[in-house]
C-alpha cells in the first residue's frame, strides 16, 4: 500500500511526465502551422515590351491576320516604335488578351487561386503521418488543463464533466476532419461544451447515455461545420473566404451549445428512443436538429437594407437559436420514428418557414422567426399526422406552415414602400399561436378551400377588412386582436360567415358585414356620443363584439338575421342616450 509521501512523489512524477507531454504536443502544434511563402517580384506593368512579346508568342495569330499589329510588332522588335505607336500596341494588346484585370491577375498563366493555395506550406516529413486527433491533442490538453484548474472536482472519474470529456474526445478521434479545419473546429467545440456542461451540470450524469449523446452530437456537428467550410472553399475555387469560415465556426459553436443543452434534456429523458440499438439511425435523429439549425443559419440569405445580402445566422441570438432548437427537439422527441425516416423533416420545416417569413421587407418576418418556429414545431410534435398529411417531403404541405404564412401575410400591410405588421410582434405571435392551435385540431381551416384560398384566408381577410375603417386611436391593437380571435371563433362554428354577398352594392363577406354592423353602432356617423363614450373602451367593445357574434352563431348568419340582431342591439344601445339601464349581458339572451 502506498504511503502518503509516495502518493505525493507519484503525483510529482506523473505531473512532470504529463507536463512534458503537454509541452511536446504544444511544440508539435506550432511546428505544424502553415507558413505562407511570398512570391518574388516580376514585371507586371503593361508596356510595349509585354505587348510585343505577346504578339510574337501566344498572340501570334493576331499578328498574322492583322497587318497593323504585324507592323507594330516588327517595329517594336527593331526598337523603332514611336511613343504613340507604343501606346497603340498596348491598346491592341488590351483588346486581344483576356481581360485579366477584371478577374484579378493570373500569375504568369497559373490561376490565382491555385497559386494562393500552393504557397501555404506546412512542415512535411516522409513517413510521419499523424492522425488529426494526435495533432490536436496538444490543443485539447491545454484547454482541458485550463478548465480543470478552475474546476478541480471535475477531474473525478465519475463526474459528469469527465464523462462528457471522454465522449467528446471519442467523437473527435473518430471524425475525419481535414488538416486545416480540425484544430479550430475541435477547439471551439471543446470550449463550448465545457462551458455548457459547467453551467448545466444537471444535464449530464456520469452514465453511458450521456457519453453516447455527447459523442453523437460532437461527431455530427463537427462534420457539418467542416462540410460547410469545404463548400465555401469550393465556391471560392479552393480559397476560402476567411470571414465566412469564421462565421460558420462561430455559429457552429452556438448551435453546439444549444443542441447539447436542449438535446440533453430531451434525449436523456428517454435515451432508448434516441440512442437505441441502431446507433447510426439514432444519432441521425439527434443530429438532424443541429444540422437543420446550422444549415439555415449558413445558407439562408437575408436582404438587409443596410448590409445587403447577409446570412440568417447574423440575425439570430443564442436565445433565438435555443428557442428553435428546443422546439425542434420537442418535435423530434414526440415523433422519433417519423424523423428517423424523414431525415430532412426539421430542416424542411425551418427552411420553409424562413422562405415564407424572409420575404417581408425590413426584416419583419425575421424578428418573429424564432417564436413562430417554436410554435409550429411544438404543435407539429403533438399532431404530426394531422397537420402534415400527404407528401411529407414537401414542407409546403405542412398545414401549420401554411397557417402561419397566411396569417402573417394578411397581417402585413403596405403603404407605398413602408411595410407594417399591423400588430406588435408579440401580438402577431399570439395570433399565430391561437391560429396554429386551431388548425392543429381542425385542419379544415387550411385543407378546405374556396376559390383556391383556404377558409382561414377568407376568415382573416374578412375580419381584417372590417377593422380597416377604425383608426388605431379609436381602437387599440390589443382590442383588434381580440376582435379577430372572436371572428375566427365564430367562423369555426359558422363556416357560412365567409360566404360573400352583395350588400348595399358591395360584395363582402358576411363576417365583415357582421363586424361592420357593430362598428357602425359604436364608431359610425350615426353613433351617439354617449354610445361611443361607453362602448369604445377596449374591453367593453370586445365584449360587445363577442356577444354579437355569439348571437349570430346561435340565431343565424344570413344577412337578414344579422340585420335583425343589429336592430336589437341598436335598440339596447339607444338606452345609453335615454338614461335607461343598459346591459350587454341582456343582449346575449334577448329574442331576435
Amino acid at each position: 500500500m502506498l504511503s502518503n509521501p509516495d502518493i505525493i512523489l507519484f503525483a510529482i512524477q506523473g505531473g512532470i511526465r504529463l507536463a512534458n507531454q503537454i509541452k511536446t504536443a504544444s511544440v508539435d502544434r506550432v511546428k505544424q502551422k502553415e507558413l505562407v511563402l511570398p512570391l518574388p517580384d516580376f514585371p507586371q506593368d503593361l508596356d510595349w515590351r509585354k505587348a510585343m512579346i505577346f504578339f510574337e508568342g501566344e498572340g501570334c495569330d493576331h499578328a498574322k491576320i492583322n497587318p497593323r499589329i504585324n507592323f507594330l510588332t516588327r517595329e517594336a522588335r527593331n526598337q523603332a516604335l514611336k511613343p504613340l505607336e507604343q501606346e497603340e500596341l498596348i491598346d491592341w494588346f488590351k483588346a486581344k488578351k483576356i481581360q485579366e484585370h477584371e478577374h484579378g491577375g493570373d500569375f504568369l498563366g497559373i490561376p490565382p487561386q491555385e497559386v494562393l493555395s500552393m504557397v501555404k506550406i506546412k512542415q512535411w516529413q516522409r513517413g510521419q503521418h499523424r492522425s488529426g486527433f494526435q495533432r490536436i491533442a496538444g490543443t485539447l490538453v491545454e484547454l482541458g488543463v485550463d478548465f480543470f484548474v478552475q474546476n478541480p472536482g471535475a477531474l473525478s472519474k465519475n463526474s459528469s464533466q469527465h464523462t462528457f470529456l471522454r465522449g467528446f474526445l471519442e467523437a473527435v478521434d473518430d471524425v475525419s476532419l481535414s488538416e486545416g479545419n480540425i484544430g479550430d473546429i475541435a477547439s471551439d467545440l471543446m470550449i463550448a461544451s465545457l462551458e455548457t456542461v459547467s453551467s448545466n451540470p444537471q444535464l449530464l450524469t456520469g452514465d453511458q447515455s450521456s457519453r453516447e449523446l455527447v459523442t453523437a452530437i460532437t461527431k455530427g456537428l463537427s462534420t457539418d461545420i467542416q462540410n460547410h467550410i469545404e463548400f465555401i472553399k469550393k465556391q471560392g475555387g479552393g480559397i476560402g473566404s476567411f470571414s465566412k469560415e469564421e462565421k460558420v465556426k462561430s455559429w457552429g459553436q452556438a448551435v453546439f451549445r444549444s443542441v447539447l443543452k436542449n438535446g440533453g434534456e430531451k434525449v436523456l429523458e428517454d435515451p432508448t428512443r434516441f440512442l437505441g440499438t441502431n446507433a447510426e439511425a439514432s444519432s441521425s435523429v439527434v443530429n438532424q436538429v443541429g444540422s437543420a439549425m446550422l444549415d439555415i443559419m449558413v445558407n439562408k440569405v437575408v436582404n438587409d437594407p443596410a448590409k445587403g445580402k447577409v446570412e440568417l445566422g447574423t440575425f439570430l441570438s443564442q436565445s433565438s437559436i435555443d428557442s428553435i432548437v428546443k422546439a425542434s427537439f420537442t418535435a423530434v422527441a414526440e415523433n422519433p420514428e417519423f424523423f428517423k425516416v424523414k431525415n430532412k423533416g426539421v430542416q424542411n420545416i425551418l427552411g420553409q418557414l424562413f422562405n415564407d417569413l424572409s420575404s417581408y421587407p425590413n426584416n419583419i418576418g425575421l424578428s418573429i422567426l424564432p417564436e413562430v418556429s417554436r410554435l409550429v414545431l411544438e404543435k407539429t410534435a403533438l399532431n404530426l399526422e394531422t397537420i402534415w398529411p400527404g407528401n411529407t417531403d414537401s414542407a409546403g404541405e405542412h398545414l401549420l406552415l401554411n397557417a402561419s404564412k397566411t396569417t402573417l401575410q394578411l397581417l402585413s400591410t403596405s403603404s407605398g414602400d413602408t411595410w407594417k405588421l399591423g400588430f406588435s410582434k408579440t401580438q402577431a405571435v399570439a395570433l399565430v399561436d391561437s391560429i396554429v392551435q386551431d388548425v392543429a385540431t381542425q385542419p379544415e381551416w387550411i385543407t378546405s378551400k374556396i376559390n383556391s384560398k383556404s377558409v382561414l384566408h377568407h376568415a382573416l381577410e374578412g375580419s381584417l377588412k372590417s377593422l380597416e375603417g377604425i383608426s388605431v386611436t379609436q381602437l387599440n391593437k390589443e382590442t383588434r386582436l381580440t376582435v379577430l380571435k372572436s371572428a375566427l371563433s365564430a367562423v369555426a362554428v359558422r363556416k357560412d360567415l365567409i360566404n360573400k354577398k352583395n350588400i348595399n352594392g358591395e360584395e363582402q363577406y358576411l363576417i365583415t358585414f357582421a363586424l361592420n354592423s357593430i362598428t357602425d353602432m359604436v364608431f359610425g356617423n350615426s353613433a351617439s356620443a354617449n354610445a361611443r363614450w361607453t362602448l369604445s373602451k377596449g374591453d367593453v367593445y370586445s365584449k360587445l363584439v363577442n356577444v354579437f357574434l355569439d348571437r349570430v352563431v346561435k340565431d343565424g348568419s344570413t344577412q337578414e338575421k344579422i340585420v335583425a340582431i343589429k336592430n336589437v342591439f341598436a335598440a339596447e344601445i339607444a338606452k345609453l342616450d335615454s338614461g335607461e339601464s343598459f346591459s350587454i349581458e341582456k343582449l346575449a339572451d334577448t329574442t331576435v
Binding site: 502551422k33 512579346i53 508568342g57
Partner: protein, 242 residues
C-alpha cells in the same frame, strides 16, 4: 493527514502542470511572429495577384502596408530569436525562425542580412542533422533558395528601369545565377514536396523578368531569344501542373 488525501494530490498535480506548462511563453511569441509574417505574405501575394484589393486601407498605399507588415514581423521574429535561441534550438524551431527572418529581410530589401540569416539557418540545420535530429525539408529548401529569390527581385527591378539604364547582359547574368540557386534548392527536395511548386513559381517569375528584358534585343536574334525563354516558362508551367 488530511493534506495527503487524494483531492489535495490532484491540486498538487494540477499546480505542477500549470507551472510547467507556463514555462513556454516563447512558443506564443514565436506563433505570434509567424502569424504576423503569414499576414504580410498573404497581403503581398494578393496584391501581386490583384485579389481583394478593396480590403486594403485607403490612407497608405498597398505596397507600403505590405512593407510595414513585413517590418513588424521581422522585429517580432528577431526578438524571439534573441530571447529564446537556445529553447528554439532545443525544440527544433530555430531553423524555422531563421527562415521567417530571412524571408522578412528579403522582402524589405535587406539582401545582405537575408543571405547571412539564411546561412545561419542552414548551419543550424546541419548541426541538428549531425546531432541525429530530423531536418525539415521545407525550411532547408527555402533557406537554400533565398539567394535565388533575392536575385529574382533584383532582376525585376533592373527590367523596370528606364530604357537608357537597362543592360540586357546584366539582367541575363542575374537571372541565370538566380535560376541556378533555385534549381539547387529544388534538387534538395524529396519528390512531391509542396515547396517545389513554390520554387517553380519563383522560377517562372524570374524567367518573366528575363523574357521582358529580351524585348530589348533587336531583330531575329532577339525574337529567338524571347522564344527560347517562353519555352522555358512553358516547361516550368508543366512541372507546376504536375
Amino acid at each position: 493527514m488530511q493534506f495527503f488525501k487524494r483531492p489535495i494530490a490532484i491540486y498538487f498535480l494540477i499546480g505542477l502542470l500549470l507551472s510547467v506548462s507556463s514555462c513556454a511563453p516563447y512558443l506564443n511569441d514565436y506563433s505570434s511572429a509567424q502569424a504576423s509574417f503569414n499576414e504580410a505574405a498573404q497581403m503581398d501575394n494578393e496584391l501581386k495577384l490583384k485579389k481583394n484589393i478593396e480590403n486594403f486601407a485607403d490612407l497608405v498605399s498597398p505596397e507600403s502596408q505590405v512593407r510595414i507588415k513585413y517590418l513588424t514581423a521581422l522585429e517580432d521574429i528577431d526578438n524571439v530569436i534573441k530571447s529564446g535561441e537556445a529553447k528554439l534550438e532545443a525544440d527544433g524551431l530555430l531553423a524555422s525562425a531563421y527562415t521567417i527572418k530571412a524571408l522578412c529581410e528579403w522582402k524589405v530589401e535587406k539582401y545582405k542580412q537575408s543571405e547571412a540569416t539564411a546561412r545561419k539557418g542552414l548551419e543550424s540545420l546541419a548541426k541538428a542533422k549531425s546531432a541525429g535530429q530530423d531536418v525539415p525539408p521545407r525550411d532547408s529548401a527555402i533557406l537554400m533558395a533565398i539567394p535565388g529569390l533575392i536575385k529574382a527581385d533584383q532582376a525585376a527591378k533592373l527590367v523596370k528601369a528606364p530604357a537608357e539604364e537597362r543592360n540586357y547582359q546584366a539582367i541575363e547574368t542575374k537571372v541565370s545565377s538566380g535560376i541556378n540557386d533555385l534549381d539547387a534548392a529544388l534538387n534538395g527536395l524529396p519528390k512531391g514536396h509542396p515547396v517545389k511548386k513554390y520554387l517553380l513559381s519563383s522560377k517562372l517569375a524570374i524567367l518573366e523578368s528575363w523574357l521582358i528584358a529580351s524585348a530589348d534585343l533587336k531583330g531575329q536574334e532577339g525574337k529567338e531569344a524571347s522564344q527560347k525563354i517562353m519555352k522555358m516558362q512553358e516547361e516550368v508551367r508543366k512541372e507546376i501542373k504536375g
